[in-house]
Structures are given as structure tokens and as C-alpha cells.
């Protein structure tokens, strides 16, 4: 507030001396902050691509089973089990969480309106995004694994629990942007509320909803902690989601990362590159969905 007090009435010249220097320093510090985020990102991407590229080939992605930790680099076998596990577990989690998340957001925005329950659900869903992923793993362990055993399905439940609030939040933000005039126009034509929601409101927000959902899937695909005690880990491919232990790329990275063997390290980098590639494809998909949405509405 020193601004308002110590200032001459009219001074259109560029501020001189110390004040200008301070302004420059502040601007430089802001750019420095940005560089501080660039450095680790560039560094980690460079390392993963450099070390992962030497490990990845067709056999690495499709070979079966996963080589044991002490196997040398380039040992026979590959990460098919982990790739398949990641795809089916994350895929099923998305299948549960995305429709439920969208429905939940529909309740909050379309039905709940300004009521206390909708507000409370929206608030608690935001709080739920802050539940640590390891706690989700423990939760599914106590409520599911203890009764039905380890399976890909249990892992999908844990990932689904993580995705649900993210999907609710992003869908809710998109539904809020849909202009009321669209809804009112449809009501005027005699459509019922569910029909308006399904055929007018949701399609209008589709791009943004798809984008948010894909980002949630990208986040879930990289999660390790919720899978540790829900899917356990196996070496050979288990394409049955509903029974038997399974594995996933993050789990394999985790177990290989702490192993002192050269081959394990190399395989961990290869799996990391595969995982990042999956996450990036999803993220680019999300960007495309967003841009499609924005051009449509203009």
C-alpha cells in the first residue's frame, strides 16, 4: 500500500532508480521460477528417453514373461505382462469411474442446483482428490482383497476411486459453462430434464468432458501405490482381469528401481519410457478433444 501514499500526483516518466531495479529483479525472479520448473522436467525427460530408448524394442514390449531382476540387459522375455496389465486395469477403472463421475457431476450441476447436498457432494469430492493414493490401496485391500483375493479388478477399483473425484470436478466445470439458454430452449420444446441433459447439455460439453476424463486416465495409469496391495505382481501375462494376481508397468518400475543389477535398471528405464509414452498419448488426446470443443462452440 506504499504505492498510494508516497507518490507524487502526476509522474508519467518511467520510475527511476531503485524502484525500477526492484521491478526488474522481481521480473527476473519470476522467469527464474519458470526455469526452475523447466530444469527437472527437461532433465527427467532427457534421462528417460535416452536410457529408455536403448532398452525398448519390439521384444521388450511384447515378450513374455518378464525377466527376473538379476537377468542381464537384453535378456529374453519382455514386459508384455505389465503392458497388458496396465491397459486392462486402467481401462476397466476408466470404464467404472468415467460414467459414474459424469453422472455425479450431472447431479451436482443439473439436479442439485443450489441445494446443500449438491454443494456438500461437490466439496467432499474435492476433498476426495486429496486422499493419498496409498490410502486408496489400503481401502480396497481391506474391503475387497481380504475377501476376494488379489486381482486386476481390485486394482481397477482402487484406480477408479482415484479417478472418480477428478472426473466429477472436470465434468462439473464443463457443465457449468453450458449456457442456460440451451437448456431453456429445449425445455420450451417440451423435452424432459433427463432428455435435455442427455441430448443437449452433455453433448454441448462433450469435448471438455472427454479431455478431463483422459487426463484422469493419464494420472491413474501412472499410479503405483494403489496397485501394490491390490494386484500384487506376476511375471507372465494374466489377461483375466477378474481373477488372479496381475501386474502393471508402474509396479515393475518400482521393483526394478531398487534392484542393484544393471539389467534391472535398464528395464526400469524402458518401462518408464513406455509408461510416459502412454501418459503423453492420453494427454495429447485430451488436448485434441479440448481444441475440437473450443472450435465447435465458436
Amino acid at each position: 500500500m506504499s504505492v498510494a501514499t508516497g507518490q507524487p500526483a502526476v509522474d508519467l516518466r518511467e520510475p527511476a532508480g531503485w524502484r525500477r531495479t526492484k521491478n526488474r529483479i522481481a521480473t527476473i525472479l519470476m522467469w527464474t521460477a519458470f526455469v526452475c520448473t523447466l530444469v527437472p522436467l527437461g532433465f527427467v525427460m532427457f534421462t528417460v528417453i535416452q536410457k529408455g530408448a536403448t532398452a525398448i524394442n519390439w521384444q521388450f514390449l511384447t515378450g513374455n514373461p518378464i525377466p527376473i531382476n538379476l537377468a542381464p540387459p537384453g535378456a529374453p522375455g519382455g514386459f508384455q505382462a505389465a503392458v497388458v496389465g496396465t491397459l486392462i486395469i486402467t481401462g476397466f477403472a476408466a470404464l467404472i469411474a468415467i460414467p459414474l463421475g459424469i453422472l455425479g457431476a450431472v447431479y451436482i450441476n443439473e439436479y442439485g442446483g443450489k441445494g446443500w447436498l449438491a454443494k456438500f457432494i461437490a466439496f467432499m469430492s474435492d476433498v476426495m482428490t486429496g486422499v493419498p493414493s496409498i490410502v486408496m490401496g489400503l481401502f480396497i485391500f481391506t474391503i475387497w482383497v481380504l475377501h476376494f483375493g488379489y486381482s486386476g479388478l481390485a486394482g481397477a477399483f482402487a484406480l477408479g476411486c482415484l479417478m472418480l473425484p477428478i472426473v466429477i470436478r472436470s465434468t462439473f466445470e464443463m457443465l457449468r459453462l453450458v449456457p442456460d439458454s440451451l437448456r431453456e430452449g429445449s425445455y420450451a420444446l417440451g423435452a424432459s430434464k433427463s432428455r435435455v441433459t442427455l441430448t443437449v447439455v452433455l453433448p454441448a460439453a462433450l469435448g471438455g468432458i472427454v479431455s478431463g476424463a483422459l487426463l484422469a486416465v493419464a494420472r491413474a495409469a501412472g499410479e503405483t501405490a494403489p496397485l501394490l496391495f491390490t494386484v500384487l505382481t506376476v511375471e507372465s501375462t494374466n489377461s483375466n482381469l477378474f481373477s488372479g494376481a496381475n501386474t502393471a508397468l508402474p509396479l515393475q518400475i518400482f521393483s526394478n528401481a531398487t534392484s542393484p543389477y544393471v539389467g534391472a535398471e535398464q528395464r526400469a528405464w524402458g518401462a518408464a519410457l513406455t509408461l510416459i509414452a502412454i501418459a503423453f498419448i492420453l494427454m495429447i488426446g485430451a488436448r485434441l478433444a479440448t481444441s475440437r470443443f473450443t472450435t465447435e462452440t465458436q
Binding site: R19, N23, L29, G104, E110, G130, E223, A225, A257
Partner: protein
Amino acid sequence: VSTVTQADPAPPAGSARPLTQHRALGDRAFQILALAAGLLVLVILVLIAISTTQQSTSWFTTEGLSGIFSTDWDPTNNKFGALAFIYGTAITSVIAIIIAVPVSIGVALLLTQVVPAKWARPIVWIVDLLAVVPSVVWGLWGILVLAPWLQGIYTSIASGVSGIPVLDNLFGQPVSGSSFFTAGIILAVMITPIVTSLSREVIATVPTIDKEGAYALGATRWEMIRGAVWPHSQGGVVGAVLLGLGRAMGETIAAALVIGSSPQITSHLFATGYSMPAVIANQFGEASGEFRAALIGIGVLLFLFTIIVNLGARGIVERSARRARGA
């Protein structure tokens, strides 16, 4: 549920009646489905609390308060004191916050006050990329690349401060590249995107008229930020920082890989340590009986801490957002 009756008005006279009734049925089914999906969030949160607490009651009852908050962690002798893990979680989160907050606020100010909107988008994209890199990849990079590199730096800092009273206690005696501090750095990188994007949202609500007023008084950009932007967005930024803190507390795999996995309470930031999520991730596999109950119990405590932090943070963010809208 009162809205159900509202959406189902008394049938109007005339031929439209059967049609409306038919619609009302499907309508109501859809509404109930949506409500159920919304309530699922509350159900899951309650179930998390109940099921995990149930599986860990034996830990809470046998150890008691003094047992839980003791440093005695010795699974082979059935001693399960969690204080060292709570300490590790606290210290790594605080380090993460100290590093991440200035960076995040700096980037948020850069995005909202300095660069034109055209440039802001790619910068947002780059910062968001940090969040796309999976936790386990940060951990892998931390343990194989960052930690070996930091070890040399830790050693030279330690030799530089040896003998100086307070600094020696904080930065002395490094053991390896894995430490509280390394975990703090990795956590800082991981929470930067969320703190940045939330701060940016808050700062973006500062009314243009306030900023123009500051400029009209002849303020430099920095003076405008301090005089107009900061007072307006202070509360919301505090909320964003708290949310980042919650994230840092619960972050598991990256911390498990780089923290060094030795439960101890020490003032030395470069010493190896342990945190609550890390011990659960590393030891749950071989745990059973009382040991497992203790680890689930640590999970319950972690859930409790993060829920408290998140409730507070969301409350602050919500309040400041409401104030910003009202202003």
C-alpha cells in the same frame, strides 16, 4: 430428494397426461441414478474411514497413544511406534513446501501479470507436464540420477558448515544421496503444478480495475503486484499451498524410493529417513497380523492428517473465491 416431487407436478388437464407420466418415470430414474453417483463420493469416504479403522483397531488399542507416538519401530519384537514416520512425513512436506511455494507463486505471477495470454498457454502446458510424469518415474530418476549427484553436493555442504552451531545440526553428516532433503526436492517438483494452477486461478480473479488503479498511481509492475494483486489473493494462495502440503504428505512411491528407508528422528536434513506412506508401501508386502494392523493404522493416521489439511485448504479456497466473486 425434495426435488423429486418438484419435478413431478400434478398432472395437467387434457391429453398430455399419459405422456408426461411416462416421461416423469424415466426422468425420475435418471435423477436417482445421478444422485446415487453423487452420493457414491460420500459413501466411499465413509467406507475408507470405517474399513481401514476396523482393520487397525488392534494396533490402536494395544499400543495406546503413547505407543503410537513413540519412536520404537521394531516389527520383529512387535513394537510399532510411528513417530519417526510422522516426523519424516512432516519434515519432507515442509521442505517440499519451502521449495515449491516461491517457485509456484513466481510462475503463477509470471503467467497472469507478465506474459501475454498467447505465451501463457505453452507455459501452462509445460508446468502441467510435470504432473503427467508418474510418481514412480520421479522416484526412479531421483534414486538413479538425482541422489548420486546430490551426494557430492551434500558432502561439500556438510564439510563447509562443520563446526558452525545451527547449520551443522541441519546440514551435517550426510550418509548417502537418499535423504529427507532429496525426498523434499522430489516432492517439491511434484506439487509445483497443483500449487501453480490453483494460485493462478486465485490471482486471475483480481479485478482489472484494482490493477489499473495501481498503475494509474504510477506503480511499477512489482509495486502493483504487492499493492493490488497480493492483498486480494493472499487467502486463496494460502489455500493452494495447503493443498500442496496435503499432496506432499500423501505422496508415496517417489518418497519411498529416495528417502533412504531408515526410521529415525534427527535434525540432520541430509540423513536418511522414512515417511508414513513410504513405510506402508515398502513393508506391507511382508506384513501380517499385528504388523499389518500397524501399517493400516499408519494409513488411517495419514488419511486423517490429509483430510484435515484438505478440509482446511478447500474451505479457505472456497471462501476466498466467494469473496472474489462478491467483490
